[in-house]
């Protein structure tokens, strides 16, 4: 059997690019779980909103507006998240977890139909921004520049997040709230504000993921409920609340999908479940999770 190096390299890089998008969504989801104890079913909808907002700015408005959209759309979605957290989620923290789950499911329904209402049902495509058009060639191997950009952006954002969590005051508060929010409250910190900030950060990351993914995939109303399942799987594998785990989990899923497709075609997802079910059963806190939720 001939080993086709450039083919496998392409698969590897594709897997990595998809993993980086997944990481952006899953990292927000996992921080939300770790700090707020909330399984946010609407997280995929934030991703979808990001993708549709970039469609509006770069296709309807002007292709060069991709960068404007990249800057402002996540802020809009984060603002949306702030409102949801402050007005709807906050009253529910003392109650059973079922209610927060239901509330975020309610917002999934609302946001999905809102997107249908505004943008319609048909698939949309967002062109790759001019700066990253074209392909890079080394010998007879060539690869799209934009995908390489995504692969570079993922770790950069990872470092940025790490910086926020471990080197800023806000990050210190987030980590403290994850360990013991009651104690933090007793120390005079406005825990509510920390929670709102975390939720907004999660929404910001998810919509950023949607924007970056938009030129690689088709933009459609069902994309939110689809990505949330993969993100859950990443969170389970990595461990709820573990942000390093989200990165490792995302790369693992990206690779399994990229190479699994070559072996089992459409059944590639089975590989992923074959990985995630034993983890949930035998080690529910995941590979890197420290606390049980």
């Amino acid at each position: 059997m001939e080993l086709d190096v450039s083919f496998w390299l392409t698969q590897f890089l594709n897997g990595l690019a998809n993993a980086m998008v997944l990481f952006l969504i899953a990292s927000g989801l996992t921080i939300l779980l770790g700090v707020l104890g909330v399984l946010n079913l609407a997280h995929g909808s934030f991703y979808m909103l990001g993708a549709f907002l970039i469609f509006s700015s770069s296709v309807i408005k002007n292709p060069s507006w991709f960068w404007v959209g990249l800057l402002f759309a996540p802020l809009v979605v984060a603002g949306f998240g702030t409102i949801i957290e402050a007005f709807c989620l906050r009253p529910l923290y003392g109650r059973e977890r079922l209610y927060t789950l239901l509330l975020t499911y309610g917002f999934t329904l609302i946001l999905d139909d809102l997107v249908l209402l505004i943008w319609g049902r048909d698939y949309k495509s967002v062109p790759i921004p001019a700066l990253f058009e074209g392909r890079i060639s080394i010998g007879d191997f060539s690869y799209p520049v934009y995908f390489l950009f995504i692969i570079a952006v993922g770790p950069l954002l990872g470092v940025f997040l790490w910086f926020i969590l471990h080197r800023t005051n806000f990050g210190k508060l987030i980590r403290a709230a994850a360990t013991d929010s009651e104690m933090l409250d007793a120390l005079g910190v406005n825990v509510n504000r920390v929670f709102t900030g975390v939720f907004a950060l999660g929404a910001w990351l998810a919509s950023l993921g949607g924007i970056l993914a938009a030129p690689m995939r088709s933009v459609e109303p069902g994309m939110g409920v689809e990505i949330i399942i993969e993100s859950f799987i990443v969170v389970i594998i990595g461990g709820m609340g573990s942000y390093l785990g989200a990165f490792v989990g995302a790369v693992l899923i990206g690779m399994l999908k990229a190479f699994g497709i070559e072996i089992l075609e459409n059944f590639a997802m089975i590989f992923i479940y074959a990985l995630v079910l034993p983890i949930l059963i035998l080690r529910p806190r995941g590979l890197f999770g420290e606390t049980t939720i």
């Binding site: 399984l39 239901l102 999934t108 329904l109 609302i110 079910l277 059963i281 939720i293």
Partner: protein, 341 residues
Amino acid sequence: MEGMASGKKLLTRLAERLTGRFGVTALLILAVLAPFLVQSDYYIQLCTEILIASLLAISLNFLIGYTGLVSLGHAVYLGVGAYAFALLTKNVYPSMWAGLIVAGASCALLAWFMGIFCVRLAGLYFAMLTLAFSQVVYTVAYYWRDVTGGDDGMLGIPKPEIGIPGAFSISLESFTNFYYFVLIIVATLIFLSWKIANSPFGRVLQAIRENPERVEFIGLPVHRYKLYAFIIAGTLGGFAGGLYSTFQGYISPDLLYWTQSGEIVLMTILGGMYSFLGPAFGAGLLLYIRDTVLNFMEYWRIVVGSILVLLVLFLPGGILGFFEGWISRLSIGGDHGDARS
């Protein structure tokens, strides 16, 4: 003052009647008369669908309301029951009873298998594992084209006639006949569920919801009780799936998708998870709202989602639960129809 007091007493008595046996009897009479009241094939079909959805929501409530386990994968039984019925009646043996039994039995087996793993987890982990299992089944149904038809689904699922071969037979092709057939099955199964829910076994489940450690200390095997609840919920869900399959005549993997599971949870909560008939009420309400909204716009999910958000924020006991709570506050010490009592 005197008049007000006796007025309140009267209201209380009326309320007690409404939630007790009287209410159930009235509901049953209403269900029996429904085809004559609505007088249109379209609404008879809607009523049939509501009956099936009621069974589905009540089956899920064994987990959510009674045992306190939030499952995000209940659509797996709707789907597996539906596929089991379709595969048997289309490919092997076209019999209504055999189809329904296979639908229930396959889901009982599946629930037993999944339950062994699921009941050991609690809270969000339980929700995640049920979600993961249901997505596995979804993936299989979606891609295993040779058997399930893939994303095209399966068409032309029959409504086999019932009766005794050679003696007599009843065709279920007419909407009214089919409605009564579903009514008999669903009412029987809901009655059985009610018996189970109010048996000592049902009380243990409620005790597990309130305080699993204490139940463990009493010496009852909590995991085994949870597993039984899981299997009961799954089996009833499977029957609902079988009925849905023959009702629609068409099924697709969408039945197994996680958003479908969310919808079943939504029905349960809409009506009220702490009241036995609450989920059925929620199922009826959800389908009615969907039908009404779809008449003038496509975006019924916005309406239902908004209702859900408002409900969670202001009426966490569900709609029927709210009224029952209100009634039992009226009648001092009354606790009718409350699953918690």
